[in-house]
């Protein structure tokens, strides 16, 4: 269970540019929840995600992972608990690396990295089978550089990297926003497939009202740094994307 208690964050404090990005957010995410996070530009979606990841630190409030306070932990320290797929396909992979090097890098997320071989015969086999499962045709291209991959293929790889090792929270930052509609569908399907396979607790930012309702079991709407609505169960099931727009 992940708890956000009284989280507030203000950018450019005490300057004319002061912006209250998050105001006393309280949120409990149960293990296994798949939360879709929506809201206008500047509502605080990305700030909240970056705060969970550890890229930002809150001014006040606590973040608890199963009663362990991680609010003061750095991004690197939280890597054990949290995995992430970025919006920009260039951010979620190492471009100069081959596919297998990227996956090998992800194998040690949040763990000590020693001097044993990063790429072994067994790992190659494992990576190959994982890639084959995704059905995006990368299984025979392990030693190819990521520079040669399309945006969609990179996001698929990035997803695979993020879910390679167990985590308590998967963060998806509009990870299909840069893709064409066909690829978007494929990546969303893969996302669901991987989340189900690993029973992952997930928070996903999206701009699509349809995605917000179709995916996951819960939708949180942010507005001006506050939780405007927290929808789940029958209430959420009865909503259409148009109803959702009414909230804004």
């Amino acid at each position: 269970m992940i708890k956000l208690q009284d989280i507030s964050l203000t950018f450019n404090k005490a300057t004319p540019l002061e912006k209250k990005a998050l105001r006393q957010i309280n949120l409990v995410i149960q293990a296994g929840d798949f939360v879709t996070l929506i809201g206008n530009n500047g509502a605080g979606k990305s700030t909240l995600l970056n705060l969970l990841a550890g890229e930002l630190t809150a001014d006040t409030g606590q973040i608890l992972f199963d009663d362990q306070d991680v609010s003061k932990q750095s991004l690197e320290q939280r890597a054990k608990l949290i995995s992430r797929v970025f919006q920009d396909p260039r951010h979620g992979v190492c471009e100069d690396f081959t596919i297998e090097e990227n996956l090998a890098l992800a194998m040690k997320r949040g763990k000590r990295r020693g001097f044993s071989l990063a790429i072994t015969v067994q790992r190659k086999k494992y990576f190959k089978s994982l890639l084959a499962e995704t059905g995006i045709g990368l299984e025979d291209r392990l030693t190819e550089r990521v520079t040669h991959l399309s945006g969609g293929q990179r996001q698929a790889l990035s997803l695979l990297m993020a879910t390679l090792m167990p985590s308590q929270l998967l963060l998806l930052d509009e990870h299909t926003a840069a893709l064409d509609p066909k690829m978007e569908k494929i990546i969303l399907r893969l996302t669901q497939q991987l989340i189900q396979k690993h029973q992952l607790t997930t928070v996903m930012i999206t701009h699509s009202m349809q995605q917000a309702l179709e995916l996951g079991n819960r939708t949180v709407i942010l507005q001006q740094g506050k939780v405007l609505a927290d929808l789940s169960g029958a209430q959420r099931a009865a909503l259409t994307p148009l109803d959702l727009v009414e909230f804004f």
Binding site: E95, D96, A104, A118
Partner: protein
């Protein structure tokens, strides 16, 4: 070119391949333009020469130089990582400080290594000693980059955000790479001093630029995304660079003198940097005619 000139160029090439490796680690792998090396090369020479005249075994003297270089790298790293000094400036600061340190170590601006046993005994081929050391170092570096931590260091240089999200501490990776890089350059300095029979505080001038030249030439000859090939490209680049210099200094027709070296090096680097552009021009022209 006489065979003496040729073999001395090859020996220098082997020594400077260690400098090239060091430069490759910082400039290419972690994307850190480290200027410390102009101070670390004479530091290695000074420490090794100083230890030798105090009666240390050549192997010990060389290892001392290696660790002294690592220390210099750590200092630059800490200046950058902990004190947030800009990378370029951090290197310049350490390099500047090392000038004084090197004179202190040698109790003067230079040391002549007369009648001391070095790593290059008279009855043994220096080429063999050098080649063994260089191949050992390349093998060590290659092994390092095939490891989990080596992969993490490479990642930290190409995608810092992703690396941090996967738990890699960029600061630590930077300090370790700077330490290893400068240790290699100091080792080159130590070998240079023992081969040439002297250490001098001014040895460092141009270390960075000749190392960079070797890296760039190597990259132009061996184009590969494979890190192991890239390491060998440093060796190849350093040797080609030294041969090119020996050739142009020794061919009377060009009328060059030893002091023209820096001008030539700069010119050669510029020329090598232009190669990809020329290549593009040629390809484009062909497309037009097709």
């Amino acid at each position: 070119m006489s065979s003496i000139v040729l073999s001395s160029a090859l020996q220098l090439g082997l020594i400077y391949s260690l400098v090239a490796l060091g430069i490759f680690l910082t400039f290419r792998v972690i994307n850190f333009p480290d200027l410390t090396v102009d101070g670390t090369f004479p530091l290695g020479a000074a420490v090794a020469a100083g230890a030798l005249i105090h009666g240390f075994h050549p192997v010990v003297a060389t290892l001392l130089a290696f660790f002294a270089g690592a220390m210099a790298g750590v200092i630059t790293g800490y200046l950058h990582v902990k004190l947030r000094v800009m990378g370029l400036l951090a290197g310049i600061l350490t390099m500047t400080a090392l000038y004084s340190v090197n004179i202190r170590i040698m109790h003067g601006p230079n040391i002549a290594l007369l009648n001391v046993t070095t790593l290059f005994p008279a009855n043994f081929s220096p080429m063999f000693v050098l080649a063994s050391i260089v191949f050992f170092i390349i093998a060590l570096t290659a092994f390092f980059f095939l490891s989990e931590y080596g992969l993490a260091i490479r990642a930290s240089g190409t995608n810092a955000r992703l690396s941090r999200a996967y738990g890699i501490r960029i600061g630590k990776a930077t300090v370790i790479t700077l330490a290893f890089s400068n240790a290699l350059v100091a080792l080159a300095g130590a070998l240079f001093a023992q081969l040439q029979g002297f250490a001098d505080v001014s040895l460092g001038a141009g270390t960075l630029i000749s190392g960079l030249a070797a890296v760039i030439i190597g990259e132009a000859i061996l184009i590969s995304p494979n890190i192991i090939v890239q390491l060998f490209a440093c060796l190849l680049g350093a040797i080609v660079f030294r041969l090119a210099i020996a050739f142009s200094l020794n061919s009377g027709a060009l009328g060059l003198q030893a002091s023209d070296l820096n001008l030539m090096t700069a010119g050669l680097i510029i020329l090598t940097l232009m190669i990809p552009r020329f290549r593009n021009l040629v390809v484009r022209k062909r497309e037009v005619y097709d």
